[in-house]
């Protein structure tokens, strides 16, 4: 049965129609939650910021003045300078443009969030479904491991590791992804998968001689996918917050990030004059909070789709 045969094509078209219908239905519930679309809009704004930065850098902004890491404005008498027409959000204690740093960092935060969330979801889904399907020792081992990971404070472990190794953004993203993948996500996915593996079609697939790997891929994983995506959203929030905290304490080797911007302001002693130097802490602080809240809200919106019990009746 080749992929081009008429039967296969018709089946695929039917599947596609079903998928579109269920996607439209899901979107309706998601849109009705109101918080979900609100989160999406905020994420879109930040993505726009991240994309605009390289464009602005080449055409509008002079790299010598506006570079987020090495820029310096020699025409201003003193730094940090308050917002002006040249620097819409002022400059930091080292004479760099705050808006440029803010936009440049957005890209790094997206990279971090998406990489760590993807890793954690792939691990969590595979391990969780495998634990549900095989049970026994596999199950026991991974569940105890998840307990341990859950119990342990991220920050403490990251502190230990950042003391021992030089850690950059990508290393951190992989680390957070792996850690949270073996943690809470595994448990949630497993409990969902347990409800899937007892369904008749899984049994039927096994009876006709499907290998465990095939059953897993074809029947179990697709059914826990919505839940995986949900946890991906929550994981982005925790990844961004962890990065910001570590950067704030100056423990990461990153070019710029929102946490590092606040670290720079704090190291210069400007943070206890909150009202006088508001442009040093408010933009990055607000950016962290908004982006994290946005991913969280999208997650909550998706939760209403995935878990019908939450809907208002």
């Amino acid at each position: 049965m080749g992929p081009g045969s008429r039967g296969a094509r018709a089946r695929r078209a039917a599947w596609w129609r079903r998928w579109r219908r269920s996607a439209a239905e899901s979107w309706r519930v998601f849109a009705e939650s109101r918080i979900g679309p609100a989160g999406l809009v905020v994420i879109g704004l930040f993505a726009l910021m991240a994309l605009l930065h390289p464009l602005l850098m080449g055409r509008v902004w002079d790299p010598a003045v506006y570079d987020p890491v090495t820029g310096y404005d020699p025409y201003l008498p003193q730094h940090p300078a308050p917002p002006s027409a040249a620097h819409l959000l002022g400059t930091d204690p080292l004479g760099r443009d705050v808006l440029s740093q803010l936009m440049y960092s957005a890209r790094a935060e997206f990279l971090l969030g998406v990489v760590s969330a993807l890793i954690s979801v792939v691990i969590g889904t595979l391990v969780g479904t495998a634990a549900a399907l095989f049970g026994g020792w596999v199950d026991l081992f991974f569940m105890r491991l998840a307990d341990l990971v859950l119990l342990f404070p991220f920050i403490a472990l990251l502190l230990l590791l950042s003391a021992v190794y030089e850690m950059g953004l990508l290393e951190l993203a992989v680390l957070i992804g792996v850690l949270s993948g073996f943690g809470g996500i595994t448990i949630v996915i497993k409990s969902q998968a347990l409800a899937v593996v007892v369904r008749p079609y899984v049994e039927a697939a096994r009876l006709v001689g499907g290998s465990p790997w095939w059953v897993l891929r074809r029947h179990v994983v697709p059914n826990v996918m919505p839940l995986s995506f949900l946890y991906m959203m929550f994981n982005v929030t925790s990844a961004i917050l962890s990065e910001a905290t570590l950067s704030f304490f100056g423990l990461l080797n990153v070019r710029t990030s929102w946490g590092l911007m606040i670290h720079t302001a704090e190291a210069g002693g400007y943070l206890l004059a909150f009202d006088r130097y508001w442009w040093l802490w408010l933009p990055p602080g607000l950016a962290i909070t908004l982006l994290c809240a946005a991913f969280y809200l999208v997650g909550r919106g998706m939760e209403e789709v995935v878990n019908p019990r939450l809907r208002k009746r």
Binding site: A156, L160, A163, V164, T245, L251, T289, A293, L310
Partner: protein, 393 residues
């Protein structure tokens, strides 16, 4: 219940072993061996390095090193700090552990109580302005950048208003002529709180059993509370340490407040969701149909059953609160194990990092066991596996 306890303890011991193994692997993964780090440190004489290699058994096979490491941790033999040479790591950790535990417990209990009470109200009045406002505040506090929240608190309450001290554990100006050290007073404070809480709990329990609800019981309870507080105050006054105790308490307010603020949001949102589900249950409808007062329906029927997932989340949230604790202690320069961990990480004081890390882990595993037991007391279904259904109550 006993077999449940035994089961849990065995699990905790295994978790502890896994945890220590992971730590050992991290140490092993450091390029070179641990003594190389000692070698490059200007404050450590070479003899110490030799003695260290001897004690860690670095010339022996890996398995022997592992066993030795386990023994060293269990006997509190964690080596000597680089940055505070020659203070043993164990002394530094032991001095600070009670403070961290206190901060952790106070903030956890407070955020649980606040989150539970607020979440109950929100679910009860779903769709009101209070629901939207509190959910908004909860989400933003939960996703806010925590160091910034703490700094704003410091700025508002300490820097601008001057009501509370900015940071530190005590005021050095006041303590210069103090007859005893801060830890002494702190331990007395802890003892005092434990005793007062115990007496109050006893009063509540006794009056709950012996008296019927009403004005009389309230008077007895209130006078009991007043008596306990008065007795504590009188004791501190006669000991002549009241000023110092007050100083410690004042320094604790902001860290506890900050940690509570970021943790209660999660509890509140979860309580709201859990209670929205129990409110749809038939037994709540039945309670209403019987004409029970709204308060009774809310507190005794809906809220009690919504409590279980919240307690579960409390168990799962232990790590989060501990992470917050590390940040809190550092921001407020409040000398606990968390601050020690961060400081030693920044100054690359490896023995101290490992010591603080190990004890954070051990403390959290114990906290996990306690939370599990609490859960089992609340939820009889968990004890069924132990074969003694309902034996606890």
């Amino acid at each position: 219940m006993a077999s449940f306890l035994a089961h849990r303890l065995v699990q905790a011991v295994i978790t502890l072993l896994v945890f220590m193994t992971v730590t050992f692997v991290i140490i092993q993964a450091i390029p070179g061996d641990v003594t190389r780090l000692y070698l490059s440190h200007p404050r450590i004489p070479p003899e110490v390095r030799q003695a260290m290699a001897e004690r860690l058994g670095l010339n022996r096979p890996l398995a022997a090193q592992y066993l030795l490491y386990l023994r060293n941790v269990l006997t509190g033999n964690l080596g000597v700090s680089f940055s505070r040479y020659p203070t043993p790591v164990w002394d530094l950790v032991a001095e600070r552990l009670p403070r961290t535990v206190t901060l952790f417990l106070t903030a956890t209990l407070l955020s649980f109580w606040v989150g539970f009470t607020l979440g109950r109200q929100l679910a009860w009045r779903r769709g009101s302005w209070l629901d939207y406002a509190a959910t908004g505040v909860g989400v933003s506090l939960w996703t806010a950048f925590y160091p910034l929240v703490a700094l704003v608190l410091m700025w508002a309450f300490a820097f601008r208003a001057g009501w509370l001290p900015l940071n530190q554990f005590v005021d050095p100006e006041l303590w210069r002529r103090a007859p005893v050290d801060a830890n002494h007073v702190f331990q007395r404070l802890l003892g005092n709180f434990a005793l007062a809480a115990g007496v109050l709990a006893a009063v509540l329990w006794l009056t709950g059993r012996e008296m019927t609800a009403g004005a009389g019981r309230l008077v007895v309870r209130l006078s009991g509370a007043v008596a306990v507080v008065a007795a504590s105050l009188a004791w501190w006054q006669q000991s002549g340490l009241a000023r110092f105790a007050w100083d410690i308490v004042r320094h604790m307010v902001l860290p506890v407040l900050a940690l509570t603020l970021i943790s209660f949001g999660g509890v509140m949102l979860l309580m709201r969701d859990a209670m929205l589900e129990t409110l749809r249950e038939d037994y709540v409808l039945a309670a209403r149909a019987r004409g029970l007062p709204e308060r009774v329906v809310r507190d005794r029927y809906a809220a009690r059953n919504a409590l279980l997932p919240v307690v579960t989340s409390l168990t799962l949230g232990i790590g989060g609160v501990a992470s917050g604790g590390i940040v809190t202690e550092t921001l407020f320069s409040w000398p606990g194990v968390g601050q020690l961990l961060l400081e030693s990480a920044l100054s690359q004081d490896y023995p101290l990092v490992l010591g603080a890390f190990t004890f954070t882990g051990i403390f959290l595993i114990l906290a996990h066991v306690v939370a599990d037991l609490l859960h089992a007391v609340l939820d009889p279904r968990l004890r069924v596996r132990g074969g003694e259904v309902g034996a606890g109550e």
